[in-house]
């Protein structure tokens, strides 16, 4: 909620023109409807809002407060919505040790628990692919629906895939309305109050990391994680795209992402790529890593490695 000079990076001129265009009768309408609805953000006003990153700090604070009120009412418990800015000198990186991963899917459900994905229809940000050891990494032969009694299986290894937080994200460049962008700390985020749901980004993402709310998402009130970030795990509306944000609500506060902490085998690593002493830099120095689909030149910040 703080005033952060780094964040808004969009053309100011555009903003003015729009304000001019919209600030006519429509604002009056908005005010009237807001008054009628008894809240400070009426339907019309929200409908005609600007992109979040273009808003003034005061307006942002208002919107966050409105969202907190709305979610708290909807879920009948105290929900906080922050917009914690990126930390200086931080670029996040992720490491996943596929020699360790046993395919237990603790991360998948841990992620859902933390990030308030819809339970039904189900949305999973992490997809764990079972690969035949004999085949190596062969996506078209992989299976995400394995359910043996126990894992790991003797003839298989597992490749969990989520957003790779690319340095050159294909999803961002195709978005027709600038509803998704890359933050200075490398996290690719979506403003789910701006997304129009055209799903261009889903076509463009080579990693199947983007997911669509095909109907109203459902989360039981007691299952909701009330600590949310505007660009991350706050409850999403229907008809928009969502994705992994490296647990932006946690990692910008210094915490590890939820999937890192839940992994029973410690296969998941996380750290600051700009800090020479970080786990990630050690990993890149000492281990051999690879990225998925490197031929597409998306340059992921998500590294797979074999620790042993």
């Amino acid at each position: 909620m703080s005033d952060d000079p780094k964040r808004p990076r969009t053309g100011e001129g555009e903003l003015d023109r729009r304000s001019l265009l919209i600030s006519g009768g429509l604002t009056t309408m908005a005010a009237v409807s807001a008054a009628a609805a008894g809240s400070s953000t009426g339907f019309v006003e929200r409908l005609l809002r600007k992109r979040f990153v273009e808003l003034s700090p005061e307006r942002k604070a208002e919107i966050l407060a409105d969202l907190e009120r709305e979610y708290s009412e909807q879920y009948d418990r105290d929900v906080t919505v922050t917009d914690t800015p990126p930390l200086d000198g931080v670029e996040f990186g992720y490491g996943l040790d596929i020699a360790r991963c046993i395919g237990c899917r603790r991360c998948v459900y841990g992620c859902v628990h933390e990030n308030n994905q819809s339970r039904d229809p189900q949305i999973h940000w992490i997809r764990v692919l079972r690969m035949e050891k004999e085949q190596g990494i062969e996506l078209t032969e992989s299976n995400a629906y394995y359910e043996p009694e126990e894992v790991p299986e003797a003839d298989a290894f597992y490749l969990p895939v989520a957003c790779q937080q690319c340095r050159k994200p294909a999803c961002v460049k195709v978005c027709p309305v600038k509803a998704t962008w890359q933050e200075p700390d490398g996290i690719v985020v979506i403003d789910s109050d701006w997304c129009i749901g055209c799903r261009c980004c889903m076509s463009a993402c080579p990693y199947g990391a983007r997911h669509f709310n095909w109907r109203d998402p459902s989360i039981a009130s007691e299952a909701l994680n009330p600590d949310t970030h505007y660009l991350g795990n706050r409850p999403r509306p229907r008809g928009v795209v969502e994705k992994c944000t490296f647990c932006i609500q946690r990692t910008r506060e210094g915490r590890y992402p939820a999937c890192v902490e839940i992994c029973p085998v410690g296969a998941r690593k996380f750290g600051n790529l700009l800090d020479e002493d970080s786990e990630m830099r050690y990993l890149l120095r000492e281990k051999r890593v690879f990225v998925l689909k490197e031929e597409l030149n998306t340059r992921p910040r998500f590294y797979y490695f074999y620790a042993t």
């Binding site: 628990h113 039904d120 229809p121 189900q122 894992v151 590890y256 902490e261 839940i262 281990k287």
Partner: protein, 236 residues
């Protein structure tokens, strides 16, 4: 503009094409019928059939797994230090051995040391040694003279809470990775205090291979994304 109200479509002009026109009508009808038939055939098939036993038909949520601790509390020291102490590294929980038997001297103090390699019968019979060479025996690691400590190869005695030093004697590269946070779990702050586990928390030192576990269920297949879909889509 009154003269053009009704299109005149009988007989007067361009009638030389009449055969073509009626054939066109016929063609169009056949075409429409075929399209409709095709469409119905496609939709009757339904989206990608899946074998009944293929899994991924039901939506599970984290709440379905009460045994799994999704909201792990941080160690109090870690939570207190937060991001203010980047060097602060704390071990989580006490060594497992403390929970069951410790201190070992409660029993072993008065017992005579039996150095013979044998099958344990009265106590510790649950321990199956499956760790490296067959010749492995208790006193490779445990200190026969004071059971509350472990013994390194060079004779140094260490506590159970430093057991990683013992493991590190053989598993040097993993030990090094573990110290850097690359092997094993860490919890807390990536830029601050964090806790991690001892080797023995995950690997039973007597049979260190990681034990298989039951995986959580697969995601819902796209064909079954919403269980209540049929009810709502009343055109189906």
């Amino acid at each position: 503009m009154d003269r053009l109200d009704t299109p005149n479509d009988d007989g007067s002009e361009s009638r030389k094409l009449l055969p073509g026109s009626s054939s066109l009508a016929l063609l169009l009808i056949v075409f429409l019928a075929l399209s409709l038939l095709t469409l119905l055939t496609i939709m009757k098939g339904g989206a990608g059939q899946v074998a009944d036993d293929a899994g991924g038909t039901q939506a599970f949520s984290p709440a379905d797994f009460p045994d799994i601790e999704f909201d792990r509390e941080l160690l109090p020291e870690v939570a207190a230090a937060g991001t203010s102490d980047p060097e602060g590294i704390f071990r989580v929980r006490q060594p497992l051995a403390y929970e069951d038997y410790f201190p070992c001297t409660d029993c072993h103090a008065d017992m005579e040391v039996n150095r013979e390699r044998r099958e344990l019968e009265e106590m510790h019979d649950d321990i199956v040694l499956d760790h490296g060479p067959k010749e492995r025996w208790c006193f490779d690691c445990h200190n026969p003279d004071d059971r509350d400590s472990l013994r390194l190869a060079n004779g140094t005695l260490i506590g159970f809470d430093e057991s990683y030093r013992l493991c590190g004697q053989c598993h040097g590269t993993i030990y090094r990775d573990w110290r850097q946070g690359i092997h094993g779990r860490r919890e807390g702050y990536w830029n601050g205090a964090k806790s991690y586990l001892l080797c023995a928390h995950c690997h039973n030192p007597h049979a260190p291979r990681f034990q298989p576990i039951k995986p959580l269920p697969p995601p819902v297949r796209p064909q079954f994304l919403s269980v209540s879909k049929e009810a709502e889509a009343h055109d189906e």
